[in-house]
Symmetry: C2
Subunit: 246 residues, 2 copies
Protein backbone atom coordinates (compact mmCIF):
# COMPACT_ATOMS: atom_id res chain seq x y z
CA UNK A 1 0.00 0.00 0.00
CA UNK A 2 1.52 3.25 -1.09
CA UNK A 3 1.77 6.05 1.44
CA UNK A 4 -1.29 8.27 1.16
CA UNK A 5 -0.49 11.94 0.85
CA UNK A 6 0.10 13.13 4.41
CA UNK A 7 -0.45 16.77 3.53
CA UNK A 8 -4.14 16.48 2.76
CA UNK A 9 -6.10 14.56 5.39
CA UNK A 10 -9.73 14.57 4.35
CA UNK A 11 -8.82 15.76 0.90
CA UNK A 12 -11.23 15.87 -1.99
CA UNK A 13 -10.60 13.50 -4.90
CA UNK A 14 -7.50 14.48 -6.84
CA UNK A 15 -5.34 17.50 -6.71
CA UNK A 16 -4.37 20.31 -4.47
CA UNK A 17 -6.51 22.81 -6.34
CA UNK A 18 -9.72 20.92 -5.99
CA UNK A 19 -9.12 20.83 -2.29
CA UNK A 20 -8.38 24.53 -1.93
CA UNK A 21 -11.21 25.52 -4.24
CA UNK A 22 -13.61 23.50 -2.19
CA UNK A 23 -12.42 24.96 1.09
CA UNK A 24 -12.56 28.51 -0.17
CA UNK A 25 -15.88 28.05 -1.91
CA UNK A 26 -17.36 26.56 1.21
CA UNK A 27 -16.03 29.41 3.35
CA UNK A 28 -17.28 32.11 1.03
CA UNK A 29 -20.59 30.33 0.49
CA UNK A 30 -21.08 30.14 4.23
CA UNK A 31 -20.50 33.86 4.53
CA UNK A 32 -17.31 33.51 6.52
CA UNK A 33 -15.86 36.16 4.28
CA UNK A 34 -18.35 38.98 4.12
CA UNK A 35 -18.97 40.49 0.71
CA UNK A 36 -16.48 43.25 0.13
CA UNK A 37 -13.78 41.89 2.38
CA UNK A 38 -10.40 41.55 0.79
CA UNK A 39 -7.70 38.96 1.03
CA UNK A 40 -4.17 39.11 -0.22
CA UNK A 41 -2.66 36.32 -2.24
CA UNK A 42 0.26 35.98 0.13
CA UNK A 43 -2.13 35.50 3.05
CA UNK A 44 -3.92 32.74 1.23
CA UNK A 45 -0.70 30.99 0.28
CA UNK A 46 0.13 30.81 3.92
CA UNK A 47 -3.31 29.91 5.18
CA UNK A 48 -3.68 26.96 2.83
CA UNK A 49 -0.03 26.07 2.76
CA UNK A 50 0.25 26.06 -1.02
CA UNK A 51 2.17 28.04 -3.56
CA UNK A 52 1.18 31.11 -5.49
CA UNK A 53 0.43 29.15 -8.64
CA UNK A 54 -2.18 27.07 -6.89
CA UNK A 55 -3.79 30.06 -5.22
CA UNK A 56 -3.87 32.06 -8.42
CA UNK A 57 -5.48 29.25 -10.35
CA UNK A 58 -8.05 28.79 -7.62
CA UNK A 59 -8.78 32.50 -7.65
CA UNK A 60 -9.24 32.50 -11.39
CA UNK A 61 -11.84 29.80 -11.11
CA UNK A 62 -13.64 31.49 -8.25
CA UNK A 63 -13.55 34.69 -10.26
CA UNK A 64 -15.15 32.95 -13.21
CA UNK A 65 -17.91 31.88 -10.84
CA UNK A 66 -18.41 35.50 -9.87
CA UNK A 67 -17.44 34.90 -6.28
CA UNK A 68 -14.32 37.04 -6.15
CA UNK A 69 -12.70 39.79 -8.14
CA UNK A 70 -9.09 40.77 -7.97
CA UNK A 71 -7.83 44.28 -8.37
CA UNK A 72 -4.32 45.54 -8.46
CA UNK A 73 -3.03 47.40 -5.50
CA UNK A 74 -6.06 46.23 -3.51
CA UNK A 75 -6.23 42.47 -3.32
CA UNK A 76 -8.87 39.87 -3.92
CA UNK A 77 -12.32 41.05 -3.04
CA UNK A 78 -15.27 38.84 -2.19
CA UNK A 79 -18.30 39.71 -4.29
CA UNK A 80 -21.87 39.85 -3.01
CA UNK A 81 -23.94 36.71 -3.47
CA UNK A 82 -25.98 38.43 -6.16
CA UNK A 83 -22.98 38.14 -8.45
CA UNK A 84 -22.42 34.43 -7.98
CA UNK A 85 -23.05 31.96 -10.73
CA UNK A 86 -25.95 30.17 -9.09
CA UNK A 87 -26.18 27.57 -11.82
CA UNK A 88 -22.75 26.21 -11.13
CA UNK A 89 -22.90 22.84 -9.52
CA UNK A 90 -20.23 23.63 -6.96
CA UNK A 91 -21.80 26.93 -6.01
CA UNK A 92 -25.09 25.15 -5.44
CA UNK A 93 -23.44 22.58 -3.23
CA UNK A 94 -21.60 25.19 -1.23
CA UNK A 95 -24.76 27.13 -0.63
CA UNK A 96 -26.70 24.05 0.34
CA UNK A 97 -24.00 23.39 2.91
CA UNK A 98 -24.41 26.86 4.34
CA UNK A 99 -26.89 28.19 6.90
CA UNK A 100 -28.86 29.89 4.11
CA UNK A 101 -29.81 26.42 2.95
CA UNK A 102 -33.57 26.72 3.32
CA UNK A 103 -34.00 29.85 1.27
CA UNK A 104 -31.78 28.30 -1.36
CA UNK A 105 -33.90 25.17 -1.49
CA UNK A 106 -36.97 27.26 -1.85
CA UNK A 107 -35.75 29.11 -4.90
CA UNK A 108 -34.33 25.96 -6.42
CA UNK A 109 -37.64 24.22 -5.99
CA UNK A 110 -39.42 27.14 -7.60
CA UNK A 111 -37.07 26.77 -10.51
CA UNK A 112 -37.82 23.08 -10.72
CA UNK A 113 -41.52 23.90 -10.69
CA UNK A 114 -41.02 25.96 -13.80
CA UNK A 115 -38.76 23.52 -15.59
CA UNK A 116 -39.70 19.96 -14.83
CA UNK A 117 -43.35 20.04 -15.85
CA UNK A 118 -42.29 21.51 -19.19
CA UNK A 119 -39.61 18.89 -19.50
CA UNK A 120 -42.18 16.18 -18.84
CA UNK A 121 -44.45 17.71 -21.46
CA UNK A 122 -41.69 17.71 -24.06
CA UNK A 123 -40.65 14.21 -23.05
CA UNK A 124 -44.17 13.00 -23.77
CA UNK A 125 -43.78 14.41 -27.26
CA UNK A 126 -40.22 13.42 -27.98
CA UNK A 127 -38.98 10.65 -25.71
CA UNK A 128 -37.69 7.58 -27.50
CA UNK A 129 -39.57 4.44 -26.60
CA UNK A 130 -36.60 2.99 -24.77
CA UNK A 131 -36.47 5.99 -22.45
CA UNK A 132 -40.17 5.79 -21.77
CA UNK A 133 -39.88 2.14 -20.83
CA UNK A 134 -36.92 2.78 -18.59
CA UNK A 135 -38.90 5.54 -16.96
CA UNK A 136 -41.73 3.13 -16.21
CA UNK A 137 -39.24 0.72 -14.73
CA UNK A 138 -37.73 3.41 -12.55
CA UNK A 139 -41.15 4.54 -11.37
CA UNK A 140 -41.87 0.97 -10.35
CA UNK A 141 -38.65 0.56 -8.42
CA UNK A 142 -39.17 3.96 -6.87
CA UNK A 143 -42.54 2.84 -5.62
CA UNK A 144 -41.05 -0.27 -4.12
CA UNK A 145 -38.20 1.58 -2.45
CA UNK A 146 -40.67 4.10 -1.08
CA UNK A 147 -42.86 1.40 0.41
CA UNK A 148 -39.83 -0.34 1.92
CA UNK A 149 -38.62 2.90 3.43
CA UNK A 150 -35.20 2.40 1.88
CA UNK A 151 -34.10 6.03 1.91
CA UNK A 152 -30.77 5.65 0.15
CA UNK A 153 -32.16 3.60 -2.68
CA UNK A 154 -35.12 5.93 -2.95
CA UNK A 155 -32.81 8.92 -3.35
CA UNK A 156 -30.74 7.20 -6.01
CA UNK A 157 -33.79 6.18 -8.00
CA UNK A 158 -35.46 9.53 -7.59
CA UNK A 159 -32.39 11.25 -9.02
CA UNK A 160 -32.29 8.83 -11.92
CA UNK A 161 -35.97 9.31 -12.60
CA UNK A 162 -35.81 13.08 -12.79
CA UNK A 163 -32.58 12.97 -14.75
CA UNK A 164 -34.16 10.77 -17.35
CA UNK A 165 -37.21 12.97 -17.69
CA UNK A 166 -34.99 16.00 -18.18
CA UNK A 167 -32.81 14.34 -20.76
CA UNK A 168 -35.78 12.79 -22.56
CA UNK A 169 -37.12 16.28 -23.11
CA UNK A 170 -34.61 16.52 -25.91
CA UNK A 171 -33.60 19.97 -24.76
CA UNK A 172 -29.97 20.31 -23.78
CA UNK A 173 -30.67 23.18 -21.41
CA UNK A 174 -33.17 21.10 -19.48
CA UNK A 175 -30.86 18.13 -19.56
CA UNK A 176 -28.08 20.17 -18.02
CA UNK A 177 -30.22 20.83 -14.97
CA UNK A 178 -29.95 17.22 -13.88
CA UNK A 179 -27.01 17.95 -11.64
CA UNK A 180 -28.93 20.79 -10.05
CA UNK A 181 -31.87 18.53 -9.37
CA UNK A 182 -29.58 15.87 -8.00
CA UNK A 183 -28.04 18.35 -5.60
CA UNK A 184 -31.46 19.49 -4.46
CA UNK A 185 -32.75 15.99 -3.82
CA UNK A 186 -29.56 14.98 -2.08
CA UNK A 187 -29.61 18.17 -0.05
CA UNK A 188 -33.24 17.66 0.96
CA UNK A 189 -32.57 14.12 2.07
CA UNK A 190 -29.28 14.88 3.74
CA UNK A 191 -30.58 17.83 5.69
CA UNK A 192 -33.83 16.23 6.80
CA UNK A 193 -36.23 18.14 4.59
CA UNK A 194 -37.71 14.99 3.12
CA UNK A 195 -40.59 13.19 4.79
CA UNK A 196 -39.54 10.06 6.68
CA UNK A 197 -41.66 7.80 4.59
CA UNK A 198 -42.63 9.03 1.11
CA UNK A 199 -46.37 9.40 0.92
CA UNK A 200 -48.18 7.02 -1.38
CA UNK A 201 -49.66 9.83 -3.46
CA UNK A 202 -46.20 11.12 -4.28
CA UNK A 203 -45.16 7.68 -5.44
CA UNK A 204 -48.27 7.39 -7.56
CA UNK A 205 -47.53 10.70 -9.23
CA UNK A 206 -44.18 9.46 -10.41
CA UNK A 207 -45.90 6.49 -11.95
CA UNK A 208 -48.40 8.85 -13.55
CA UNK A 209 -45.64 10.94 -15.10
CA UNK A 210 -43.92 7.89 -16.55
CA UNK A 211 -47.17 6.51 -17.81
CA UNK A 212 -48.21 9.77 -19.46
CA UNK A 213 -44.84 10.02 -21.19
CA UNK A 214 -45.14 6.47 -22.41
CA UNK A 215 -48.64 7.12 -23.71
CA UNK A 216 -47.37 10.30 -25.35
CA UNK A 217 -49.78 12.46 -23.44
CA UNK A 218 -48.10 15.84 -22.85
CA UNK A 219 -50.92 17.39 -20.87
CA UNK A 220 -51.04 14.61 -18.31
CA UNK A 221 -47.28 14.45 -18.08
CA UNK A 222 -47.12 18.16 -17.40
CA UNK A 223 -49.92 18.01 -14.89
CA UNK A 224 -48.52 15.10 -12.90
CA UNK A 225 -45.04 16.52 -12.74
CA UNK A 226 -46.45 19.83 -11.62
CA UNK A 227 -48.28 18.00 -8.86
CA UNK A 228 -45.00 16.44 -7.74
CA UNK A 229 -43.35 19.83 -7.59
CA UNK A 230 -46.16 21.46 -5.71
CA UNK A 231 -46.20 18.63 -3.24
CA UNK A 232 -42.44 18.96 -2.74
CA UNK A 233 -42.81 22.65 -2.08
CA UNK A 234 -45.59 22.02 0.43
CA UNK A 235 -43.66 19.30 2.22
CA UNK A 236 -40.62 21.49 2.52
CA UNK A 237 -42.60 24.41 3.86
CA UNK A 238 -44.30 22.20 6.41
CA UNK A 239 -41.17 20.54 7.71
CA UNK A 240 -39.39 23.82 7.72
CA UNK A 241 -42.12 25.53 9.74
CA UNK A 242 -42.17 22.66 12.20
CA UNK A 243 -38.44 22.97 12.63
CA UNK A 244 -38.78 26.69 13.11
CA UNK A 245 -41.36 26.24 15.86
CA UNK A 246 -39.31 23.80 17.86
Amino acid sequence: MRPTDPLSPGAVPPGLHASVIDQMGLAIGAGEWAAGSVMRIEELEERYGVSRSVIREVLRVLASMGMVESRRRVGVQVLPATEWNLYDRQVIRWRLASPGRVAQLRSLTELRTAIEPQAARLAALRAPLADASELMGLAGKLWAAGQDGDTDLFLTLDIQFHRLVLSSSGNEMFGKLNSLVAEVLTGRTHYGLMPEHPHEEALQMHVDVASAIQRGNPVDAHQSMLAIMERAMTEMSTLWNEAAHK
Copy 2:
Protein backbone atom coordinates in the same frame (compact mmCIF):
# COMPACT_ATOMS: atom_id res chain seq x y z
CA MET B 1 0.05 57.72 -26.59
CA ARG B 2 1.45 54.59 -25.12
CA PRO B 3 1.98 51.68 -27.46
CA THR B 4 -1.09 49.49 -27.44
CA ASP B 5 -0.32 45.84 -26.92
CA PRO B 6 0.61 44.60 -30.38
CA LEU B 7 0.02 40.96 -29.45
CA SER B 8 -3.74 41.21 -29.05
CA PRO B 9 -5.43 43.10 -31.86
CA GLY B 10 -9.12 43.10 -31.08
CA ALA B 11 -8.47 42.30 -27.46
CA VAL B 12 -11.25 41.91 -24.94
CA PRO B 13 -11.54 44.29 -21.97
CA PRO B 14 -8.65 43.98 -19.56
CA GLY B 15 -6.01 41.38 -19.16
CA LEU B 16 -4.18 38.80 -21.06
CA HIS B 17 -6.21 35.94 -19.64
CA ALA B 18 -9.53 37.33 -20.69
CA SER B 19 -8.20 37.57 -24.17
CA VAL B 20 -6.82 34.05 -24.31
CA ILE B 21 -9.88 32.58 -22.62
CA ASP B 22 -12.08 34.24 -25.16
CA GLN B 23 -10.02 33.05 -28.11
CA MET B 24 -9.87 29.50 -26.86
CA GLY B 25 -13.51 29.41 -25.83
CA LEU B 26 -14.52 30.70 -29.22
CA ALA B 27 -12.37 28.14 -30.98
CA ILE B 28 -13.63 25.24 -28.94
CA GLY B 29 -17.21 26.47 -29.12
CA ALA B 30 -16.95 26.65 -32.88
CA GLY B 31 -15.76 23.07 -32.99
CA GLU B 32 -12.32 23.95 -34.30
CA TRP B 33 -10.99 21.51 -31.76
CA ALA B 34 -12.99 18.33 -32.06
CA ALA B 35 -14.04 16.68 -28.85
CA GLY B 36 -11.32 14.34 -27.74
CA SER B 37 -8.47 16.14 -29.40
CA VAL B 38 -5.58 17.00 -27.16
CA MET B 39 -3.33 20.00 -26.88
CA ARG B 40 -0.15 20.39 -24.94
CA ILE B 41 0.46 23.34 -22.68
CA GLU B 42 3.72 24.15 -24.39
CA GLU B 43 1.94 24.32 -27.74
CA LEU B 44 -0.60 26.73 -26.38
CA GLU B 45 2.07 28.93 -24.80
CA GLU B 46 3.59 29.31 -28.19
CA ARG B 47 0.39 29.70 -30.13
CA TYR B 48 -0.90 32.52 -27.96
CA GLY B 49 2.48 33.98 -27.13
CA VAL B 50 1.96 33.95 -23.38
CA SER B 51 3.66 32.30 -20.49
CA ARG B 52 2.83 29.06 -18.85
CA SER B 53 1.07 30.63 -15.87
CA VAL B 54 -1.40 32.40 -18.11
CA ILE B 55 -2.17 29.26 -20.06
CA ARG B 56 -2.61 27.20 -16.93
CA GLU B 57 -4.99 29.69 -15.40
CA VAL B 58 -6.98 29.80 -18.61
CA LEU B 59 -7.13 26.02 -18.70
CA ARG B 60 -8.34 25.88 -15.11
CA VAL B 61 -11.22 28.15 -15.96
CA LEU B 62 -12.11 26.25 -19.12
CA ALA B 63 -11.93 23.06 -17.09
CA SER B 64 -14.35 24.48 -14.54
CA MET B 65 -16.70 25.16 -17.44
CA GLY B 66 -16.44 21.52 -18.44
CA MET B 67 -14.86 22.34 -21.77
CA VAL B 68 -11.48 20.70 -21.25
CA GLU B 69 -9.89 18.20 -18.93
CA SER B 70 -6.21 17.82 -18.37
CA ARG B 71 -4.50 14.56 -17.65
CA ARG B 72 -0.91 13.91 -16.82
CA ARG B 73 1.24 12.40 -19.42
CA VAL B 74 -1.47 13.05 -22.01
CA GLY B 75 -2.21 16.72 -22.30
CA VAL B 76 -5.31 18.82 -22.28
CA GLN B 77 -8.29 17.12 -23.81
CA VAL B 78 -11.30 18.85 -25.28
CA LEU B 79 -14.52 17.49 -23.82
CA PRO B 80 -17.71 16.81 -25.81
CA ALA B 81 -20.28 19.59 -25.82
CA THR B 82 -22.55 17.54 -23.59
CA GLU B 83 -20.16 18.26 -20.73
CA TRP B 84 -20.09 22.01 -21.13
CA ASN B 85 -21.64 24.30 -18.61
CA LEU B 86 -24.38 25.68 -20.82
CA TYR B 87 -25.57 28.16 -18.23
CA ASP B 88 -22.31 30.03 -18.23
CA ARG B 89 -22.62 33.38 -19.89
CA GLN B 90 -19.42 33.03 -21.83
CA VAL B 91 -20.24 29.55 -23.04
CA ILE B 92 -23.57 30.82 -24.29
CA ARG B 93 -21.92 33.65 -26.17
CA TRP B 94 -19.33 31.36 -27.71
CA ARG B 95 -21.97 28.98 -28.92
CA LEU B 96 -24.12 31.76 -30.31
CA ALA B 97 -21.08 32.86 -32.27
CA SER B 98 -20.66 29.38 -33.72
CA PRO B 99 -22.33 27.75 -36.72
CA GLY B 100 -24.55 25.74 -34.36
CA ARG B 101 -26.23 28.99 -33.47
CA VAL B 102 -29.74 28.15 -34.58
CA ALA B 103 -30.11 24.93 -32.61
CA GLN B 104 -28.71 26.76 -29.61
CA LEU B 105 -31.25 29.56 -29.96
CA ARG B 106 -33.99 27.00 -30.21
CA SER B 107 -33.17 25.31 -26.93
CA LEU B 108 -32.56 28.62 -25.20
CA THR B 109 -35.94 29.84 -26.33
CA GLU B 110 -37.57 26.67 -25.08
CA LEU B 111 -35.94 27.33 -21.75
CA ARG B 112 -37.25 30.88 -21.76
CA THR B 113 -40.70 29.51 -22.54
CA ALA B 114 -40.56 27.50 -19.36
CA ILE B 115 -39.10 30.22 -17.17
CA GLU B 116 -40.37 33.60 -18.18
CA PRO B 117 -44.12 32.98 -17.93
CA GLN B 118 -43.56 31.61 -14.43
CA ALA B 119 -41.41 34.61 -13.59
CA ALA B 120 -44.18 36.90 -14.81
CA ARG B 121 -46.67 35.00 -12.69
CA LEU B 122 -44.54 35.38 -9.58
CA ALA B 123 -43.84 39.00 -10.39
CA ALA B 124 -47.58 39.66 -10.45
CA LEU B 125 -47.72 38.26 -6.93
CA ARG B 126 -44.57 39.77 -5.50
CA ALA B 127 -43.30 42.72 -7.51
CA PRO B 128 -42.90 45.94 -5.55
CA LEU B 129 -45.01 48.78 -6.86
CA ALA B 130 -41.97 50.69 -8.05
CA ASP B 131 -40.92 47.77 -10.23
CA ALA B 132 -44.39 47.42 -11.68
CA SER B 133 -44.46 51.10 -12.60
CA GLU B 134 -41.05 50.95 -14.16
CA LEU B 135 -42.21 47.95 -16.14
CA MET B 136 -45.15 49.91 -17.49
CA GLY B 137 -42.79 52.70 -18.44
CA LEU B 138 -40.49 50.29 -20.23
CA ALA B 139 -43.38 48.69 -22.07
CA GLY B 140 -44.41 52.13 -23.26
CA LYS B 141 -40.95 53.05 -24.50
CA LEU B 142 -40.65 49.64 -26.08
CA TRP B 143 -43.81 50.28 -28.01
CA ALA B 144 -42.51 53.61 -29.21
CA ALA B 145 -39.14 52.22 -30.23
CA GLY B 146 -40.88 49.38 -32.05
CA GLN B 147 -43.09 51.77 -33.99
CA ASP B 148 -40.10 53.96 -34.87
CA GLY B 149 -38.14 50.96 -36.07
CA ASP B 150 -35.22 51.95 -33.84
CA THR B 151 -33.61 48.51 -33.60
CA ASP B 152 -30.81 49.36 -31.19
CA LEU B 153 -33.03 51.13 -28.74
CA PHE B 154 -35.60 48.36 -29.04
CA LEU B 155 -33.01 45.76 -28.14
CA THR B 156 -31.80 47.70 -25.13
CA LEU B 157 -35.32 48.24 -23.83
CA ASP B 158 -36.35 44.67 -24.53
CA ILE B 159 -33.42 43.40 -22.49
CA GLN B 160 -34.28 45.76 -19.66
CA PHE B 161 -37.90 44.72 -19.73
CA HIS B 162 -37.22 41.02 -19.47
CA ARG B 163 -34.52 41.59 -16.89
CA LEU B 164 -36.91 43.49 -14.70
CA VAL B 165 -39.60 40.84 -14.97
CA LEU B 166 -37.10 38.17 -13.99
CA SER B 167 -35.76 40.09 -11.04
CA SER B 168 -39.24 41.14 -9.91
CA SER B 169 -40.13 37.49 -9.59
CA GLY B 170 -38.23 37.60 -6.34
CA ASN B 171 -36.51 34.36 -7.21
CA GLU B 172 -32.76 34.59 -7.42
CA MET B 173 -32.52 31.66 -9.85
CA PHE B 174 -34.87 33.38 -12.28
CA GLY B 175 -33.08 36.67 -11.76
CA LYS B 176 -29.78 35.10 -12.66
CA LEU B 177 -31.11 34.17 -16.09
CA ASN B 178 -31.17 37.80 -17.14
CA SER B 179 -27.76 37.54 -18.72
CA LEU B 180 -28.87 34.48 -20.63
CA VAL B 181 -31.92 36.28 -21.94
CA ALA B 182 -29.81 39.27 -22.83
CA GLU B 183 -27.46 37.09 -24.83
CA VAL B 184 -30.36 35.48 -26.64
CA LEU B 185 -32.00 38.76 -27.57
CA THR B 186 -28.70 40.26 -28.64
CA GLY B 187 -27.86 37.14 -30.60
CA ARG B 188 -31.22 37.11 -32.34
CA THR B 189 -30.89 40.74 -33.33
CA HIS B 190 -27.28 40.51 -34.29
CA TYR B 191 -27.71 37.43 -36.42
CA GLY B 192 -30.84 38.55 -38.19
CA LEU B 193 -33.35 36.27 -36.50
CA MET B 194 -35.54 39.12 -35.41
CA PRO B 195 -38.27 40.51 -37.66
CA GLU B 196 -37.31 43.79 -39.33
CA HIS B 197 -40.11 45.68 -37.73
CA PRO B 198 -41.57 44.25 -34.52
CA HIS B 199 -45.19 43.33 -35.11
CA GLU B 200 -47.75 45.35 -33.24
CA GLU B 201 -49.19 42.32 -31.50
CA ALA B 202 -45.83 41.56 -29.96
CA LEU B 203 -45.56 45.09 -28.64
CA GLN B 204 -49.04 44.89 -27.21
CA MET B 205 -48.20 41.68 -25.39
CA HIS B 206 -45.37 43.38 -23.55
CA VAL B 207 -47.79 46.04 -22.44
CA ASP B 208 -50.19 43.30 -21.36
CA VAL B 209 -47.52 41.64 -19.25
CA ALA B 210 -46.61 44.88 -17.53
CA SER B 211 -50.24 45.74 -16.98
CA ALA B 212 -51.08 42.33 -15.53
CA ILE B 213 -48.15 42.56 -13.15
CA GLN B 214 -49.21 45.99 -12.06
CA ARG B 215 -52.78 44.80 -11.51
CA GLY B 216 -51.40 41.84 -9.57
CA ASN B 217 -53.02 39.37 -11.91
CA PRO B 218 -50.76 36.30 -12.10
CA VAL B 219 -52.87 34.38 -14.60
CA ASP B 220 -52.87 37.14 -17.18
CA ALA B 221 -49.21 37.86 -16.64
CA HIS B 222 -48.36 34.23 -17.22
CA GLN B 223 -50.57 34.01 -20.26
CA SER B 224 -49.25 37.13 -21.95
CA MET B 225 -45.63 36.24 -21.36
CA LEU B 226 -46.27 32.78 -22.70
CA ALA B 227 -47.75 34.36 -25.81
CA ILE B 228 -44.58 36.41 -26.25
CA MET B 229 -42.45 33.31 -26.01
CA GLU B 230 -44.54 31.32 -28.43
CA ARG B 231 -44.48 34.15 -30.88
CA ALA B 232 -40.71 34.40 -30.58
CA MET B 233 -40.40 30.70 -31.26
CA THR B 234 -42.64 30.97 -34.31
CA GLU B 235 -40.82 33.98 -35.69
CA MET B 236 -37.50 32.26 -35.32
CA SER B 237 -38.70 29.11 -37.02
CA THR B 238 -40.14 31.10 -39.89
CA LEU B 239 -37.09 33.22 -40.54
CA TRP B 240 -34.88 30.24 -40.15
CA ASN B 241 -36.85 28.19 -42.67
CA GLU B 242 -36.82 31.08 -45.12
CA ALA B 243 -33.07 31.32 -44.77
CA ALA B 244 -32.74 27.59 -45.26
CA HIS B 245 -34.73 27.71 -48.51
CA LYS B 246 -32.69 30.46 -50.09
